[in-house]
Symmetry: C2
């Protein structure tokens, strides 16, 4: 790193915007990894030398060529809303902030072509007047970029209908710039996109994405309370399985999770378990019948029009749940779990009873292989790294799948394994290993062996 | 019947339109029961005395009151496209032809209010320009009425996404006229609608329906061929389970069924098994990847615009398959089967191999309880009633559910059991048992016992 001629580099940038002010550089070198007490220790001192902010694919190519010439590591950043340190520059170098490449280039019924730095909410602002919206989004919908979501996300609000980002059809095409002496632009379509998606920017710099759009229903918000957690959970599964009801969000919280939500203290009776739901307005009537069947109580209901103002319930679900809980109790961290095939919720119930208040159950239903399936972002009262590891291991020993949010390594997060094909792709697009170095275990180990 | 004063009855009709010409009366006393060799014999001589064609709910009330006064049986008819004799007047009387009550009263995003005699295609003609369409339809979409579909149908094109008519949310409300001395108009909402839906008009005369609407994608048509039937079937299940692909129709035919389709002889190579599909246009690209995974060949593809002209593939699926096969070989009849929970298709494969060419496999995938599930309308080479019964019994003994299309009795068709609540509802709305008499076994047996 000491041999880098930063002056030559910044001269090569020509008119491309960059930031060197330490305070801003520090801020733009971070994400929400502090959700994890493990990552807090590991990543606290990691920082880029410079933040570069390209406005076009041509500028990206210029930056990349300059980095290759000087052997400068490059870590791509969206809005920095991730939780796994995916955009933390482990080996310094530059952070490539994509937030100025923020246009919706075009859209048609069911499909849009967008730049990576556009915020998810801004895609919908453009497409909704024509009746279309993005299929799924994290709870950071209002701040996150599409590039960051594709680069590190897996699913979210909308996944109860459309499955996960990795499911065929949920990402149509990407354009990527390679990090070679002569950078190339590749367009990947169909199954090929998974060489780049959810790769933390280790396998090419995304400069354009073609994504599917969903019909934009008028989404109502509903909160339902239950006396019994398992009744709430079974209600969630039943709603996920209700083919005649149109839904976007099916979240279930065990008590005491709702007590962390200041905005809903007047709405949710204490010691109740509850479901946070987004359903289409015309699905409210059949939803009421389902609620009655499961002896729930609707305590909150907003039409789509009302939901466009004030508190949005989706900002209490997925990883925002963790955010709100940590605002009250910073000692809380979280897990990410899939209960595969557990439609009878036996494994969910076992974990709920086994860990009691130490691991507070937070279910998010999403479609997996054609079926609504319980996933969880449990809140965890943190004590020691060893105890955290023991909790993870117990889940795995019982058949749950943990996507560990306490690692910054791509493979260990577990959303996806780096396979040989991907390693070969990286050899092609990043021969010098400058893209987000330190994040891909297979690449590190390849060099350790070599 | 001999004591009916038909002159007084027709006088009571006042200006309400009716038909007495024998040829027309005979035609309007029939449906497609001739698909079944069993029903052919049982229903051939059944005929109404008169066809009455009301234009409004007020006229329906007048007709009903006049029927009650003269003790005249009343059988409601839509377009007569059903196959179970649901609108055959077993005890004569009048047929109430609803085809003149054919308006879409209003629609809004996701919901429409329609009269019972409107054709399914005509609902879409009104709503599609605004981006909405009906959620599901039988293959008789262009001729069938919504009232007849709700009165006797179960699902169809669209069910691979939205499930069946009986699923909560797929029918919002109905208005029904009762058959009392003083006919009442009841509005049923939510779960209450199932007291009337799929009751063959034995439980009230539907005069208005509130139905949900689906987003109207641009639906492309695709035919895929396979060398192996089970490969085709597994492809169908995988497409049903593919959450990121938007689909409306997933039909799989075993050879030699495609040989009955004259319109596709140049398209489908002989001795191939094939899938007839409707997917949204932007799902074509990911569909191609799925086809490749299952080693299929796309032999036919029409954009939505092209599909609006010429042959429509949906008119070769569901019960139109039977129609086309019978046009070539009138000795063919059919079964209706659900393979519950058979997502590995073991039971499908067993039946396919067990019966060989005698029972030709025709799968229709539809959502059941949140999961794409194989259903079948197998073509059957008919020999004797005993053999037909043996084939049905073998299916049932192996865990398949047969919805017998060779009976006109509501309960024996098996789509729904008449339970005590429904019997009580009939006692209320049809105290004299004049509504489509002879179709509801529970009612007949009640009188036999009483």
């Amino acid at each position: 790193m000491s041999s880098i001629d930063w002056l030559a580099f910044s001269r090569a940038l020509d008119k491309i915007q960059f930031i060197e002010k330490p305070k801003q550089v520090k801020r733009l070198s971070q994400d929400y990894y502090h959700f994890s007490p493990i990552l807090q220790d590991l990543l606290a001192d990691k920082q880029a030398k410079m933040i570069v902010q390209p406005k076009s694919e041509a500028e990206v190519i210029t930056v990349v060529a300059a980095c290759v010439q000087q052997n400068i590591p490059l870590t791509v950043r969206g809005a920095g809303t991730g939780n796994y340190g995916q955009c933390i520059p482990l080996e310094g170098g530059i952070v490539l902030d994509m937030s100025l490449m923020n246009k919706v280039d075009w859209f048609a019924p069911g499909v849009a072509s967008v730049q990576p730095g556009v915020k998810l909410v801004d895609i919908d602002r453009v497409t909704r007047p024509s009746g279309w919206e993005i299929r799924m989004a994290p709870s950071t919908y209002r701040t996150a970029t599409i590039g960051g979501f594709i680069g590190g996300g897996s699913g979210g609000i909308g996944s109860v209908t459309y499955g996960q980002l990795r499911d065929r059809g949920n990402l149509r095409a990407v354009r990527v710039v390679t990090m070679e002496d002569q950078p190339q632009v590749l367009e990947l379509r169909g199954d090929e996109v998974y060489q780049v998606a959810h790769a933390y920017g280790t396998n090419g710099i995304i400069t354009e994405l073609e994504i599917p759009l969903a019909p934009a229903y008028a989404w109502a918000e509903v909160i339902v309370t239950f006396d019994d957690f398992m009744q709430a959970a079974r209600f969630g599964q039943a709603l996920g399985d209700a083919d005649g009801l149109i839904k976007k969000l099916v979240t279930v919280f065990a008590d005491p999770i709702p007590s962390y939500f200041a905005a809903f203290q007047d709405v949710i009776p204490s010691q109740s378990h509850c479901a946070f739901l987004m359903v289409s307005e015309e699905s409210i009537a059949p939803l009421q019948e389902l609620v009655r069947e499961f002896q729930g109580s609707i305590v909150y209901e907003k039409s789509a029009e009302e939901a466009s103002r004030g508190v949005a319930i989706y900002e209490y679900t997925w990883n925002h749940t963790t955010l709100h809980a940590r605002a009250i109790d910073p000692n809380i961290t979280y897990l990410q779990t899939l209960f595969p095939g557990d439609h009878d919720l036996n494994l969910v119930e076992h974990m709920y009873r086994h860990f009691g208040d130490e691991v507070m159950m937070h279910l998010e239903f999403m479609r997996v292989g054609g079926r609504a399936t319980p996933a969880a972002l449990q809140l965890l009262r943190y004590s020691t790294p060893e105890r955290l590891q023991a909790i993870i291991q117990y889940h795995e020993s019982q058949g749950a799948i943990i996507f560990n949010p306490h690692t910054y390594l791509l493979e260990d997060g577990g959303m996806k394994q780096v396979d040989v094909a991907q390693l070969r792709f990286k050899e092609k697009v990043d021969p010098y290993g400058l893209m987000n170095p330190g994040k891909m275990r297979a690449w590190q180990e390849r060099w350790a062996e070599g």
